[in-house]
Each structure stands twice: as C-alpha cells, then as structure tokens.
Symmetry: C2
Subunit: 463 residues, 2 copies
C-alpha cells in the first residue's frame, strides 16, 4: 500500500486507531485454523461513519478489507488472505439496549457472546445461541458465521435471533435491514442474507437481537451406552415422543477416553457412546420430562443413567463436554476438525461410515457433538506417524464429506466455508446455486474488496 | 402476445394446461384486494422443467409472468398488473414427504396450509404458521408473502419454518437453497431471500419445511377490559412474567360490537378491549400457566375472565376472533385493511393515535389483531357518507403509517407490500436499503419479467 493511501486510512480512524507495526500485524494474522496471513495494516474504526469512509476509500482503490471479531473461527473467515486491511471491530463493544418489554436488544458487534448472555440473564431474559467459543467469540463474529451451538436442537441458531442489522456495504453505503418488530415484511429479507455471509458482503455495525424469557429451571441427565446405535435410537425416540431437550449432545468412546485421560472427570470409559441431555422449562413440567427421557434411555439399554440435580454436578458434566476439544488437541498436533451435519436419523449410519474410513486409513477419527440436530464434530487425527499422516487425513476428510452428502447432509453445520472448505462447496451447492451466490457477491462487492478469496473456490479450483 | 409466441408457451405446458379464453382469464385477474387486471393467458405448469422452460422463454421475449397460489393476498401480490402470463401453480399440490424422525416435510407450493397442518397433526407433528387465510391459502403463497398469523408471538412466522427451497429464477435456472438439515452454513442463506419476496425473484416449486412436535394440550382464556390501556398492560405483564402464550389476540370495542351484531356470539359489548389467549404445552404446566395468566388479567382490572375448558367453548371463542373480518365487511363496502406492526409495548400509544385519527376525520377505524407480537389490523372504514369518505380514508391511512413509523413500527407485518403499499415503502426503508432491494431485483431479474410493478414504487412515484 503506498504511503499516501495509508495516510488517508490513518486519517479516517485517527492515528491511535491505526497500526502497521509488524508486531501488531502479527496479532491479526491468525485465527483458530493454523494458517497465518499478514495484513498490511490494522485499523480500529470507532463509528459507522468511519467504517463507511474506510470501505469507500478501499473500494475506490481496490484495497482488501477483512472485518474481524475475536478471530476464533475454525475455517479462516477472518484471515487476511490477500493482505490489505484488517478492520478490527473491537471498539464496537457496547450493549446499547436491553428492552425487557419487547424482548429485544440492540448490540454492537464486538460484544462477547457470553457477556451479552450474562447481561440479559440479570433481567430474566435469555439469548440461546451458544457456540463453543461463546466465552470469547463476539456477537458480530457469530452473526458473520451464523454460529450454532449446543442449544440449536430446541432454540435454533444465530440467524433465528437476529431481527435487524446495520450493515456497511463494500461501497460504503449504510443499510438498515429488518427492525425490532416481531413481524416485518417490508421489502426483501436482507437480514439473513448478511447473517452467515462470512464478512464477504458487508460489515455489521449494529444488530437488533431477539430474546426469550429465561426458562425457569433446567436439569441435566447423562447416559452411557455400549454402542452408538442404541444411543442414536434413544435420541430419535426422545424427540419422537415430543420432548425437545435444550441440548442433546453425544461423545463417542474415543472422545470419552480422551477426556477421561486428560481431565479425569470420572466418566465411564467402558462405554461406546455417552449422551448428555439438558431439559429446561417450567419447574412443573421438568421432572416429568426428565423421567420420560430417563425411561427412554433405560428402554434402549443404557448402561448407566445419572441425573445431575445440583448445579455443581451439572457444571461438571458440561465441563466434560467442553473438555473434548482441548483433550483432542493433547492427543495430536495434527487434527482436522470438521463439523458435518446430517438429518438426525442418519447419525448411526454416518458414524459407521466414519469408522470405516478410520479403519481404511488406519488413523484415529473421533466424533462428538450435537446429536439432537445431527451436527457432528468429526476430528480426523494423525496416528503415531504424525505429520506423515496428513495426506491420509485429507483423503479421509473428503471421504467423510462424500458420505455426508450421500446421507443428504451438509459439509458445514456451524463453522462456515471460509478458506478451509471452499474446495468442497460444490459438493453441496449445485452449479446454478453456487452461481447465484457468486452473482450476489459480485453485485454487492463488484471490486471484490471485502474478505476476498473466501467462501468461493477460485475459478481455477472450481474447474 | 403474438400467436406464434403463445403457441410456444402452450407447447411447453400442453394444450390442456394453457388458456386464453376470456372467462378463464377473469378467474385469474383478482385477489383479495378489489383490484382487477386481466392476464393475456394463464398456464398451469406440471413440473419444475416446465416452469423453467416457461420462464426462459418469457425472459427471452420480455413477457411478464406472475406466479399465483390461491390469490388470497391482501396487497395485490398475485395481480397481473402488466398483463402477460399468470403462472398458476395448482398442479404442484403434493405433500411429498413427512419425515417424523427428522421433523421435516417436503411439499409443493399449491398445498393448502390447513390441509398440510392436518396431515402433520395425524402423525403428532405441528406446523405453526397460521395466517387467517389458512383454510384456503397455499404454502407457496405463504412463503412468497412470509405469512404470519396468530401463533407468531410464540412460534414465529413462515420464514422460521422454511429450511430449503427449490426455486426457478427468472432466467429459467433452477436453484436449491438450504437443506433438510437443522444447521447449514454452506454458502449464503438464499432461502430467506426468496421467502417474502412476493414472487418477484423466483418461482418456488418445492419447499422443505421444519415441523415441531404437536403440543400435548392447549387451553383458551378470554378477558374483557374497560379500557385498552389495561388490556395492553396485561399483555406486557404476561410476557414479562416469562409466559409466552401460543396466541395473544385482542379486539377493540368496535370489533367486539361488530362481531356481536352480526354473529351474536354472546361477547361482552360493554368492554373496550377483549383479549383472547391460548396457552399450549405439556398438560403438567398448562394449568399453572393458565392460572398465572388469569391472575395477571384480574390484577389489571379485567371486567370478566373466562376459561374455555371444553373444545366446543374454545372453538366458539376462536370463531368470534375469526368473525371480525367478515363482520367488518358487513359494516361498509369501503374498508382499508392495514396490518401495521409496532414493538408490543407501543400498542396502547398506537391505539390512542389511531383513535385520534378516527376522530379527526370522523370515520370509524376499527382495530384488532395480534397483541402478542404488536401486529395490529387497522380497518379504516367509510362512515355513512360511503364512497365520499375515500379521500379521508386515504389520508387517515397515511397518518396511521406516520404514527407507526414514529413508534419504530413497520407498515406491514404480514400482508406484504405488493401493489397496495408500494408508495409507502420508503417510510420504512431508507434510500440505500431500498436501493439494495432494487439492486437485488435487477440482478436476479434484469428484464423485469417476474411479477413486474410490485413491491417497488415506480421511479416516478419514488421521486
């Protein structure tokens, strides 16, 4: 970037909010993937007008701009692949309004999700989306990726809670989508076009979020099974009986073993499948739901069913669930963390195919995740050979994607496409549908300045 | 249309599924507005390939095409304003799949909403969206308009139940948005772009819908109040206590009077506001919810609270609610039926402003609707002067829209923009946002063949 142009960007945000010092740039070069790309500068706009001015100038001069929240994404969405500017949204960190009468909030994108959840809970309200990263990821990042989480089975994902957005387009124009109203059919639904667009269509500077009353009570139950089929049948039968738990998670035998080995939480290591189920709602109905869930588990041959009645016990169980990912990290440095999703009833078949792939390549593949909504975190790991297993791991991932598609599933349920999955997007989107996505990108960002190189495979790769 | 072109369209769908006979055309010239526009021909495609071929040809030759469901819309969405072809979707009338394991269905667009609801209920499932037209409107029409209904306060609107679509673009390209999966972040969320697009962006030929388990039980309570403020405070307090009823409807004094006069259902005619509340859920929690609702009503000075325990009593109450619209039709031939929406807490102020407008112009304005979600059906009627009141009525509508916007509301909550509200769309959408909507229309339909003249004011009107 030439010095004069840099000076102009610096002038827009102020010298205190602009850096091109190498040590600073390094801090904005990474995300939760292991890849790293250096930006040419990082700026921290302080207002929507500054965001607009930066984009207008970048658009005129063809400078790539990559919006960034906490940088905790798994697919490279916030990596400055083509250099240019990282637009760090850190200063947009206010909860502007929590409206208890209308169950809505107005937030800025850099608010950390857990902080927002805590704030609404103090006034008896509830913001359900809970990606695993919720203690550090931001609402803006969650919106950009349409983040999911454990409660999706009952409560849906981020897009189900976004009523409206203030978005700055690549042109610098500021648009306002949706509203605080519960119903709104004025014009096209632009809100959801931006939710999940991975920072490629616009920069969110404000969001109106829908809230729910905080459920009166919740309880957690765990059940272990000697095989995955029995666990999967249990899941189907719970939902089939009209009970929709707030969360319905599973760990496979290998995940259980990994957690136990590294954290020693007292989980059953002889089981091949472990279900973690939280029911929430009115106190009156809760015991009944819990008993019904328990009886379905027992009917399907659970080895052991435990109800965690005290908060401490519940926290312990959820700590185990959240410990899976760190525990796997300890097993091998080489790990591909996929998040396929299949219709819930296809989970047993999917797990079976994953096991076949693991055996075929002789590498560990460990699965856990959201049994209730079919979203499985598949961790393809290196065996004792370490780095030398990487080619096998890549082949295994493709085979797993193929099996996913064969079972009417999708290659990403909540992590997004970003950089990591773009070679595979055509496995889910047929040519006209992918062409429509590209056309929308080209229409909103004709100079391809906003998060360039993401989501869509380059033309060379696509052919 | 020249005879040769007509012959080509006829050849695509077959002679039995094409008509240009005047008597037939008349049947496809109207909707629930009082306006009428004759198409040049009506065709009834029988497959997605035929829809594609028709659009491809129409696009090449610049022939307007207006997709049509039941033609029951209130804003002119299905009127063939510019002539051309009506594409009647009647033959797409199959429920292709009801998947009880994964709580999804696959439907064609001409399935009548009530018929679909009944079909899923027989297997213990629930499709919540319930526009007032549900006994005759179609799922495709509901999707095109993003139809709402009474259950939106708890269950949301049509878009909240559409997981995926097969859509034919104006170019004839067939795209597939979304999937049956509960989570899906592969590519942009195209589904919601088409939901509520009023047949201006594409023709839906298939939809994947999300279902819920059918709630175990429901109960209905009614409460009358001597003033609207007390009723509105009751609504706020119910939700404030964390109870979200399945429906939370209100009638003002004039609606009550009109229903009583024409149907004699025994409603209290001395009340100024009447609430109709349905709670649903597990039997265990239901009585408690109902008692809590009742005590909130009593605390806020309800004149009378009645619980309808038997199905017959419940049906009677909902019959009263559904009788409002026909009862108003009997009062005057001249009626403008608006469906503004405001944040729930603004309802009392909105009702007050509506009353001021009624007094100012000396015409009856009758309000009823969805207190739970802030969506008010405002019926601006002619007084004894009849037709001569029309100019006053139009002014009153604009004043009501202005008040709506001042209270952070929207000019349409569920009816759409269509023809009826396009002059006012700029009251809600600022210039860049409206420009983005227009840009999307132009991108997807560069020759403006699909439902032309809808949603967006013509450039002349806009200036």
């Amino acid at each position: 970037m030439d010095k004069n142009l840099e000076k102009q960007f610096r002038a827009i945000v102020g010298a205190d909010h602009f850096t091109d010092v190498q040590e600073d740039l390094l801090c904005y070069a990474f995300d939760a993937t292991r890849e790293q790309y250096l930006p040419e500068a990082v700026l921290f706009p302080g207002s929507v007008q500054e965001v607009s001015a930066v984009l207008r100038l970048a658009n005129a001069r063809g400078v790539p701009v990559v919006p960034r929240g906490a940088g905790s994404g798994f697919t490279g969405g916030s990596l400055p692949l083509k250099g240019g500017l990282v637009m760090a949204m850190n200063r947009f960190d206010r909860i502007r309004l929590i409206d208890t009468d209308n169950l809505v909030a107005e937030v800025e994108p850099a608010v950390v999700t857990a902080k927002f959840q805590a704030a609404v809970e103090t006034v008896g309200l509830f913001y359900p989306p809970d990606p695993a990263s919720y203690t550090f990821s931001t609402l803006g990042g969650n919106i950009a990726e349409n983040a999911g989480g454990m409660r999706a089975v009952k409560y849906g994902v981020t897009k189900d809670y976004v009523r409206g957005l203030e978005v700055v387009l690549p042109s610098g124009e500021i648009v306002h989508t949706g509203s605080a109203c519960a119903k709104d059919v004025v014009g096209y639904d632009l809100t959801t076009l931006f939710v999940g667009s991975e920072g490629t269509l616009g920069v969110v500077t404000k969001a109106i979020l829908r809230l729910l009353p905080l459920p009166e009570a919740k309880q957690t139950l765990s059940a272990s099974f000697s095989d995955m089929g029995a666990a999967a049948r249990t899941v189907s039968e719970i939902i089939g009986r009209g009970i929709v738990p707030a969360t319905l998670e599973f760990l496979d035998g290998a995940s259980l073993g990994a957690v136990e080995k590294h954290f020693g939480l007292g989980l059953p290591t002889d089981a091949e499948a472990f279900l973690l189920i939280e029911v929430d709602g009115d106190q009156a109905g809760l015991d009944r739901s819990l008993n019904r869930v328990r009886s379905v588990c027992e009917k399907n041959g659970a080895l052991e069913v435990k109800v965690a009645r005290q908060k401490a016990e519940q926290d312990e169980l959820w700590r185990a669930r959240r410990a899976v990912s760190p525990a796997l990290r300890a097993i091998s440095h080489y790990r591909m963390n996929e998040d396929i999703v299949v219709p819930r009833s296809k989970i047993p078949e999917m797990i079976e195919r994953i096991q076949q792939t693991a055996e075929k390549y002789g590498i560990p593949i460990i699965s856990f995740g959201h049994a209730g909504d079919g979203n499985i975190h598949v961790n393809v790991m290196a065996g004792p050979a370490g780095e030398a297993d990487l080619p096998k791991m890549k082949k295994a991932v493709v085979e797993i994607f193929e099996a996913t598609v064969a079972l009417a599933g999708r290659i990403s349920g909540e992590h997004g496409i970003g950089l990591a999955k773009q070679p595979y997007i055509g496995m889910n989107l047929d040519a006209p549908t992918l062409a429509l996505c590209r056309l929308l990108k080209k229409t909103l960002d004709p100079n391809n300045i906003l998060n360039p190189g993401k989501m869509f495979p380059s033309v060379r790769e696509a052919h």
